[in-house]
Structure formats: structure tokens, C-alpha cells
Amino acid sequence: MASSAAYLDADENLEAIISHIEQKSRKIETLLKQSKPVEALKTALEGSPLKTRDERCKSANWIVVHRAMMAIRDVDGMFNSLDPEYYDILMKYLYRGLSTGDRPTCDQCLKIHEKLTEKAGLGCILRSLADTVNTV
């Protein structure tokens, strides 16, 4: 991939990101109605705006990820179909969830965190803590 500006601060790019997130949101609602919460979570995690510094985009994506995450009932089953490439980004969102302090969110995040740590190891936690460039 050619190296380009790391941060997309041009207005049109932000609008593109937001509309992409809105698209994702619609797809996620559909998937949840079809009782496919894991697919919904994957959709939410894909294409997350890590590089941008714009808080609106990050919050918008968090809302979408949160919606999908809270819909998951079977955490163990989720990991059977969640590919390892999603582990690092999921861990970052778990910490964002834990930082909200909201009881139901934290309960869910802790449940997933325990299983994710077993699956991905402490290295996954470290990458979410240490990476101050690609933040959620």
C-alpha cells in the first residue's frame, strides 16, 4: 500500500467515513434481525476509523460496535467464528467500553474480555494499551 498522509483530516474524507459507518449500521440492524450477532460484530469492526483523529467518526463507529457487541449472548460461541485478525481491534473497543462505566456495557465487556484474553493472550492487551497512534 502506498504511503499516504496518515491522518485524513480533509472534510470530504470525514464525510465519507461517516456515511460508511451509517451504511454499516444499517447492515448490522439487518444481521441482528436475522439473529447473526457475530456477523454483525465483524461488520462493525471492519473498516474502523483508526487513523483519523476526528472524535465524531470514532464515536460514531463505537456506537455501531457497541450495538453489535451488546447483542451477543453466547460469548464462547462467538469465538468459534471470530477470526484472529479481529482480536486486536476488538480488544481496543472492549477497553473503550470499560471506560464508559455503564453497568450493562461493562458487564458485557468483562465477559468478552475474559474469553478474548484466553484466546489472544496478554500480547493483545499490550497492543491495545501501547498503540497510541491507531486509537478507537
Binding site: 486486536d88 461493562c106 458487564d107 468483562l110 474480555h113 475474559e114 484474553t117 484466553e118 489472544a120 493472550g121 496478554l122 500480547g123 493483545c124 499490550l126 497492543r127 501501547a130 498503540d131 497510541t132 497512534v133 491507531n134
Partner: protein, 377 residues
């Protein structure tokens, strides 16, 4: 069941910052986390303290012992460096003026031992060479490029290229060509045509602190560790860098050693050396931990962590104990972070058969790879 790879474990101090071996490996020099360097010699079966080199005012952060010229170079947080020469039964220090205004953090003799490099907290690297006429060591400083402390150094086998890692997350390769010290030679190569301080390459793979840079014996591959539990293997750094980013399952590494062109050992906060190997296509992957541990099935790190988190958020987990101990002794050779790995003996095929590690637990462990690694050729 194969014998354990750790063939010797010596508890020398409470904590060791760095260590180096004498050319014949009969003596070991290390800093016991203070301003001194202790030299121990093995007499039959017991290690005896032979010398104490006490010239520095603060912690000695780096020691290197040259193989051919038998000189010890030490650097310290006191911003100084000494080159120690053995005269009779004494070690005589020569102060090397580095002109640093921050701590010196690491030091390495060059392959030809006519230069040594010092990385510092002043965001600079000092290349020191010996001037025969005035009988002293002169320091030439590479001040540009680094945006933060230089944590480790590694010399390329051509004695000119030096790789550095920094807490700015980047790994860089510089030329240290010095007129009068390095020769241009009849065949012009990029290395001998380069100027002192010229940046050959910059690798921006980690957004976190970088440590433990090392070249493979041929200089073809470069490896370094990121504090985000990653290890990076880079081929052809000079011409067309091709990097592999390996995400580690566990805690970050602090130092790396190439055992052969396709096997490397990483050491760090897991207190257990990690073996990495490249397959025929050059793809690197984690193989296993070197040290066999007594298994503690009931207290995995993950369940300890979630127990602790559960207490934080007021949830009650299955078996709750009153105290959660995050760091139980894990039954391996090292009990705390390994910070330094040094090669010892090479086999006839050029690969390293033995190496030693030292760490914050004050132990120096010698490891033997015979029967533990099958070298794919």
C-alpha cells in the same frame, strides 16, 4: 523427555543490568544494578569475585568485552564511558569523553573492534575510535534523526552500518564510516561510499518503544522488538526493506539474538526465551518457549487477570481467594524480566549453540541449544 535447555543458572546479585563474557569465557563481567562492574571467574566449580571496576558514579547500563583485543567498554547513566585494559592483574580505565548531557544507555564494540558505539538518552549515538597519536578515544556524534532515547545498537558485519532502536518507536540504520579508521577498499560498495552519520534506512513499524535490534550473521536480516508485543524481521534493509510483523501472544521482548540465518531467540518480560524460526520461503513464526515450565493448570494468567478485574467491578467469580497474586514464581530458570542476551559458543556450521541471558532477578543463565532446536538447512 529432553533435558532442560538451561545448563547453568547462577544467582550473582539481586538484579543485573547487563553482562558480558571474557574471550575465553572463563570470566563474566556484569553490573549488579549499581555503579560497579563485577568480574567473576569460574574456579573448578565455584564462581569467585575477581575484580570490581568502580569508576562510574551511576548505574552501568552497558558492558561489552571485545573478543580479540580483550578490552572492556562500559557506559553509565553518569554520561561517561570507560575502556578498560588488562595490565597484569589489574584493569586500567581510560575515560572516553562522550560529551553527553544525558545518560548513556547501551554500548557495542564493532566487529573489527576498532570502534564502539554508544546509544544515549540525549537522542544521539556516539561512535568512538582510537587515535594512535594521542593515545585516546575520540567520539563522533550522530545527533540527527533520533527523536528520543536510543535503547539498543547493532553493528552490521561490514563494520560500517549501525542499526539503532529508539523510544520514538523507529529502527534506523546509519553509516559510521570514518576516514582513517575504515578503508574504502578497491571495490566500491554502498557502505564504503557512504558518509558518516548518513541515514541508510528508517523503519517505522512500531508506534511504541523499540528495543533489542540485531543483525543476522550475514547482515541480510534485521530484527527488533516493539513494546507492543511485536517482533519485526526485515530483509534487505538497505535496498528494498521487506518487513514481517509478528504479533506475540504474550508479553513484550527486550532483546533478540540470531542463532542462525533462520532461527532467532527473543527474551523479555515472559522470563522465558522465545524461539522464532523462518521456513524455506523466509516466513518467520513463533515456534515455542525454550524453557520447560512446571505446569500450573489452575492459575493461568488469564484467569488471574479476570479474577482481579472481577473484584474491581464487584463481580464474584467461582473460587475467590482473599489475595490475588499477580506474579507467582513460574518455576522456570529466570524469575523476572530477561533484559540481556549474549552469544557464547558457535558450532562448526556457524550457528550459535550456547548463549547466556541476564535479568532483573539477578541471575545469569547459560542455555544450550543442542537437542533443542533442529536447524533446518
Amino acid at each position: 523427555m529432553a533435558a532442560t535447555a538451561a545448563v547453568a543458572i547462577h544467582q550473582f546479585a539481586e538484579c543485573i543490568t547487563c553482562h558480558a563474557w571474557s574471550p575465553d569465557q572463563s570470566m563474566i563481567a556484569f553490573c549488579p544494578n549499581n555503579n560497579e562492574v563485577h568480574i567473576y571467574k569460574l574456579f573448578t566449580d565455584k564462581w569467585e569475585k575477581l575484580h570490581v571496576l568502580a569508576k562510574h558514579d551511576q548505574i552501568v547500563s552497558g558492558i561489552d568485552w571485545s573478543r580479540s583485543s580483550n578490552k572492556i567498554v562500559t557506559v553509565s547513566h553518569d554520561r561517561n564511558s570507560y575502556v578498560w585494559t588488562q595490565e597484569g592483574s589489574d584493569w586500567v580505565p581510560t575515560l572516553v569523553i562522550l560529551k553527553l548531557n544525558r545518560a548513556a544507555l547501551c554500548v557495542q564494540w564493532s566487529p573489527k573492534e576498532n570502534k564502539f558505539a554508544v546509544g544515549s538518552g540525549a537522542k544521539s549515538v556516539c561512535i568512538c575510535y582510537y587515535e594512535q597519536e594521542n593515545n585516546w578515544w575520540i567520539s563522533k556524534v550522530i545527533r540527527k534523526r533520533h527523536e528520543s532515547s536510543v535503547t539498543s545498537l547493532a553493528w552490521h558485519p561490514n563494520n560500517i552500518y549501525l542499526a539503532t532502536t529508539s523510544t520514538d518507536g523507529k529502527c534506523r540504520v546509519f553509516s559510521t564510516f570514518i576516514k582513517g579508521v575504515d578503508t574504502r577498499g578497491s571495490q566500491s560498495s554502498t557502505a564504503t561510499d557512504s558518509k558518516f552519520g548518513e541515514q541508510i534506512a528508517q523503519l517505522d513499524l512500531s508506534s511504541t518503544w523499540a528495543f533489542g535490534v540485531r543483525w543476522s550473521a550475514s547482515g541480510k536480516t534485521l530484527a527488533y522488538a516493539g513494546h507492543n508485543s511485536m517482533i519485526y524481521f526485515v530483509d534487505e534493509v538497505e535496498l528494498a526493506p521487506a518487513a514481517q510483523n509478528l504479533a506475540l501472544r504474550d508479553l513484550p521482548l527486550r532483546d533478540v539474538l540470531f542463532v542462525s540465518e533462520s532461527v532467532a531467540i527473543g527474551v523479555g518480560f515472559d522470563c522465558n526465551p522465545m524461539i522464532f524460526a523462518a521456513d524455506d520461503t523466509g516466513l518467520w513464526s513463533f515456534v515455542r518457549f525454550l524453557d520447560e515450565r512446571k505446569a500450573t493448570p489452575s492459575t493461568s494468567k488469564a484467569s488471574q487477570l479476570s479474577e482481579a478485574l472481577g473484584k474491581l467491578y464487584g463481580q464474584s467469580k467461582g473460587t475467590s481467594s482473599d489475595t490475588v497474586e499477580p506474579s507467582k514464581p513460574r518455576g522456570g530458570a529466570h524469575e523476572n524480566c530477561i533484559t540481556c542476551i549474549v552469544p557464547l559458543t558457535k558450532g562448526r556450521d556457524g550457528t550459535i549453540k550456547r548463549f547466556s541471558t541476564s535479568g532483573l532477578d539477578g541471575k545469569i543463565v547459560v542455555w544450550d541449544l543442542e537437542n533443542h532446536i533442529t536447524m533446518a538447512k
